[in-house]
Amino acid sequence: MAKVRDIQRTAAFAWAPDASSFIATGTQAGAVSADFSDNTQLELWDLDLAGDPQAELSPITAVNTDSRFYDIAWGGVTKERPRGIIAGGLENGNALISQTKEHNGAIKALQFNHFSPNILATAGVQGELHIWNLENMQNTFRLGNKAARADDFDCLDWNKKVPHIVVTGGNGGFLTVWDVKQKRESLTLNNWGRKPASAVVWHPEQQTKLITAVPDDNEPVILVWDLKNSNAPERILRGHNGGVLSLSWCKQDPDLLLSCGKDNRTICWNPNTGEMLGEFPVVTNWTFKTSFNPRNPSYSATSSYDGKIVVRSLQNTNPTTTADASQSADADDFFSQASNAQASSFTLKQSPRWLKRPAGATFGFGGKLVSFSNPGAKQNIVKLSTVNLDSGVTAATEHFEKAVQEGNLVSICDEKAENAKTDEEKSEWKLLRALFENDTKAKVIEYLGFKAEDITPAEPATPSEEKEVDAGAVDDAASKSHRLSTFFGAAGDDSDNFLADLSIQSSQTARTNNPFKIYTGEESDAERDITKALVLGRFDKAVDVALAEDRMTDALMLAICGGEKCIERVKAAYFTKMAKGPNYLRLLASITGKNLWDVVHNADLSNWQEVMVALCTYAEDKEFGDLCETLGDRLEEEYRLDDNKELRRHASLCYLAGSKLHKVINIWITELHESEQAGLQESSDDSTFSVHARSLQQFIEKVTVFRQATKFVDEDKNAPSGWKLSALYEKYNEYADVVAAHGQLSIAEKYLDLLPKDYPAASAARERIRQATQKVSTSTTTAQARKTHPLTQPYGRAPVGVPAPGPQIPSQTGPYQPIQPVQPTQPTQPTPAQNSYQHRQSYAPPNPSQGYSSASPYAQNTMQPQTSGNYGAYNKVGYTPGISAQPTRPPFVPPPPKPSTGTANWNDTPEVVRPQRRPPSAAPVPSTSPFPGAPPAQSPQQTAPWGAPPPKATPPPPPKGALPPNRAQSPAIKPQSPGFSAPSYGAPPTQPNPYAPPPQAPPATGRYTPQPTAPAIGSPASPGATRPLGQGIPPPPQGTFAGRTGPPPSGPQYAPPPQFNQASAPSPYAPVVAPNPYAPPPTAQGAPNPYAPPPPGPHAPPMARPGSQQAAAPPPKPATPPPPPQPKHPKGDRTHIPSQYMPIFEILSSEMEKVKARAPPAFARQVQDTEKRLNILFDHLNNEEVLSEGTLEQMMTLSRGKLMT
């Protein structure tokens, strides 16, 4: 407590009830001032608490009273009396305000009602208690009755909670609680043994509690009562040393109670706990009144008899300052010291309730609010919360954030565009939305409202006078805002400059220096359209418009930018327009339009050269020919009309250039005639015929050269009729005749071949020639034929004409024959060919009937000469001996080298088993049928011939005779073969011989053997390989032989493959087998050699083969019987297989491939064999020989059937 003020009075005081710190004092009754003055005053003091504490206070006002005060009450604040009213209880019983006298005795205590400021209660001696109503001063009433109380009332207090309760206390020891409303006592409290009560105060908040003070020095206690239990006090506060004279219970804090008394002390209590909180400094005399400032209880005042009223504050947290002040002043004054000794440092430790903030809230960063509260004793709560200050903001923010997160800003744009209030905003949002599309630029265009479809070319209008605005160098492309004067005004020079400047393209940094307007506002619709189209990049539209406007040059420029289509359009339009222009334009039109037909058809012929050149330059290959033809046609026509030879020449040039043979032919034929005529007129030594022939020759030459040069392919060859080149064919035919007549059959044939198959005139000729050129091997026909044989033979056409009889035995090819050195009988048959031949020969004899007699003669004839390589002859040669030797030889009638495959061909179908062969001289024949099976018909001999390829020295065979049963060889064969073979093969493979000789027996074997034996493997295959399949074996075999038989037993013998196959077969064996073990086969059949065995081996089979051949028309496809007549085409050639039989070839070869691929090694030999045979068949097919149509048909069925399965 800090002493705040003091008032130098001994007075009763009262605080001003309002906020001001005023005190009213009234001179105390029962006290005498130091000067014994008789003044009794009521004074008002302004405490001026804010001011200097040391200053002396003086009363503001003073009111004289006639009596001393016992008590003052200041209350009654009402609207009319804002400062309240002071009521004083006087000694003389007056309640001063207005002098009202009711009391009979002194008024000891008075108090305004807390709730009704007009009510005043006064209590005094003799138990008088009056209730006054200030508003109605007349109306006072007395509580209680006179007589009931004899004791004085010393104190009173209105209840702070219940307005109509008042308690009074006095020295009688009873406290009376009065109910004013009911005007009667409620309760009487025995003050703890009837102790007098000097002061009484109600609890500020609890209406049933009150405290009384006992002025008894013996027991200066303060009693705390709860009237609920009025028997005993709740608490007793002891602390005073002297009687307690006054109490003040703090209104704001029930824990604070002031008491003062006779012990000169003012003590502050906590009545609820009974704790003495502190005491004010002790004064020198009784303190008879203490009171809290009703508004600010931190201040309290105490008046004492020592002449002072001291106003103090509850707290003095910094006592040093005040203490110092007072101390320093009276440092030496004992008394002052004494009195100030307790200028105490009393400070209320317990914080008064009025300072305790019970709840609060403060904001924090991030929209946070922290609040606290103390809902109950020992309970405190702090809350943290986030405050949503502006819901609108949050909602919008959240919505937007969500959309951003979802990536759904497009919808936001739409939404905003919808809700936009101004058009500007709307368009902005629309554009923002457009930016989301990938194609921003397109969207911008769309947004700006530019549509390409809007541009339609107007009707061609007269071009406006207005110059166009060239939307050239634009500084700011999209900006229409560049509004500048029309640059292309009338000024022409300006435009030049502009164009020149155009090259200085404005760059981004170069600012506007060539201003111009894109839209001047004066241009025509068309121009506008063009501009629009340009801006949009639609050149096609621009071109359209330009064309419609007939602005050709512009259109061209635009087209250049616009691409191919535009260019085409403009071109077309231009040409149309310029149709009347210079002719070169027309030419150009055609050229660019790639349509030369126009030129060709329509150009004047006098310019044909130019046209031609144009064609050469521009025409595409496929059209070129036709174009030339057309041109040529025109020229020709012209020529016909004109009869201008020049034209004809030109025409032919055209035709030549265009490779149109048929046209050229006609001209050439005409020329031919002419030259012929001319020639005829040239009297020379030649005959008419020769002239004709010469002319024809020249013609043919020309044609042939032409064909070669252009690689002409006659498509009509297979057509049945209606040939374009019919004229040519005629000539060919003629020529062929001529040539054939001169013995050049092969040439003739060649040319005949060029004719279509169905050419009537040709077939006969062909046939004839064919016949004529057939290999002698099989046919031992005319000697003549034979004569030619050697020549023709090489072609494999051995007996041309030989095989008159019967079918064309696939004229074994030359090689065939030779190989047949039908040695056996001739030891001198080195060449297997010869052998074979001889074989044949030998056969022949035996079969004269077969017509092979001729063969024999052959044989004979040729035998000798044959020694080496005389195939054709050989054949014959071979035969003879053979024949002789082996009578049994199956007539290898078709000696022809057939299946020269010799041993190798053991399995081959008796190639070309020409029926002729058959005839069989039984013996000799065998060899001729290289095709074991083929000519079964041919009779065993065939087989023999097969084996026959006797030349193949089938040496062993004979000896073996044991020809593998495969073939029912004609026994005849056997003997022979070896013999034959041997000699024939000589070197090579005697084995093959087996075939050779086989004619009788061996042949077969011969044929086969090779197979089985080692050597066989190799060779056989080839020649024989295809044997079983027997096709056009002849040819192949031959070939193979040729190949294989390295050391051609008889060199050339092998030429004629077929038969030679056998021979060749042997050849492979050759190495194995000594060349000629068989040489003396016949003689040394068995002996011979080592080969013998082997060959026999191989031969055996071959031998057998022949035999079997005959018999079996072997297994495999009995394809073509006859021997390999001289194949027309080289072995292996497949290109001439007629198309209808192509399938056979294809199917079979594919099957072969499959088998080859999958066959286990053990069967390799068979596989190879088969292949060989197939090859032979193919060759025959290719050569169109040997295989009869019927057979071929069967084959077709077979192969197809096979395929089906």
Binding site: L49, K349, F363, L369, S371, L384
Partner: protein, 297 residues
């Protein structure tokens, strides 16, 4: 909403969030100050500061640029300054300028420097400034006769400007408002000639003690002062210009109002009453104030 219960052993009298909203300081009648780390729903007691002899009435966080500094006002008449050093709070300074309970303490806007104002039951206000050299400069003057209960600084920048100038510039105003037991609200301005603060305006309107005053942070052009009183009312004082006439708007409450606090953007007022209720108030376009929501108990 996070609720932390019984952090103290006695009544809590104040809680304040720091500049970042991460730290919470609470003070209590148990004479202690507790610092908590707040992380969403979790709280963690960092430290308990002891040093006061009496109930601590208020705490105030300084701007972080001065460091982690906390000022506390207590019934024991002292103002204590605490600072965090190496994770620990230590007492930086002790001010015993008052004779009675220091009821309020408030840091000035950081642009003015490290300045602190304290209001005491002895009726005086003290302004303490921490200088760069670490010393304190204190000015004390009487504010309200029988006790000063609250003090609140005005924003440093002139009302209406969003951008604040750095440091103490001529534009910076040194003003604060106090509320006292004499039912008055007073606005004080620094008077450079006198070297002290003088009363600018006295706002009269309450009929009982003014328990709390708060000057709104200025985003809006107007100046707002809120005063809370024991007479169960809150008065919003507005002025269009800093010195302009102040208009008052009375918000009647149901109970004694102990505290008023403005949101950081200055548009929402939180009012705390003796009935332990906290309500939020916002101004409408017409100038009326309406209750926005209340924080439930």
């Amino acid at each position: 909403m996070t609720q932390l219960s019984n952090l103290h052993e006695d009544m809590i009298h104040d809680c304040a969030l720091d500049y970042y909203g991460k730290r919470l300081a609470t003070c209590s009648s148990d004479k202690t100050i507790k610092i908590f780390e707040i992380d969403g729903q979790n709280h963690r007691l960092i430290e308990t500061l002891r040093g006061h002899d009496g109930p601590v009435w208020q705490v105030s966080w300084a701007h972080p640029k001065f460091g982690n500094i906390l000022a506390s006002a207590s019934y024991d008449g002292k103002v204590l300054i605490w600072r965090e050093q190496q994770g620990q709070f230590v007492k930086l300074a002790e001010h015993a300028n008052h004779h009675a309970s220091v009821n309020a303490v408030h840091w000035a806007p950081h642009e003015l420097g490290a300045i602190l104002a304290a209001a005491s039951s002895d009726g005086k206000v003290s302004v303490m400034e921490l200088k760069d050299d670490g010393s304190w400069d204190t000015k004390i003057f009487s504010a309200h006769t029988i006790g000063c209960n609250a003090v609140s600084w005005a924003p440093a920048t002139q009302a209406g400007s969003l951008v604040s100038t750095s440091g103490v510039s001529s534009n910076a105003v040194r003003r604060f408002v106090t509320g006292g037991s004499d039912n008055l609200v007073k606005i004080w301005t620094y008077n450079p000639e006198l070297g002290t603060y003088t009363v600018d305006t006295t706002l009269d309107g309450h009929t009982d003690w003014v328990r709390d005053v708060a000057w709104a942070p200025s985003i809006l052009p107007k100046s707002y002062i809120a005063s809370a009183s024991q007479d169960k009312s809150v008065i919003i004082w507005t002025a269009d210009s800093p010195n302009g006439p102040w208009n008052k708007k009375v918000l009647q409450m149901d109970a004694v109002v102990w505290r008023v606090s403005w949101s950081l953007s200055g548009n929402v007022l939180a009012v705390s009453g003796g009935d332990n209720k906290v309500t939020l108030w916002k101004e409408t376009l017409k100038g009326e104030w309406e209750k926005v929501s209340s924080v439930e108990e």
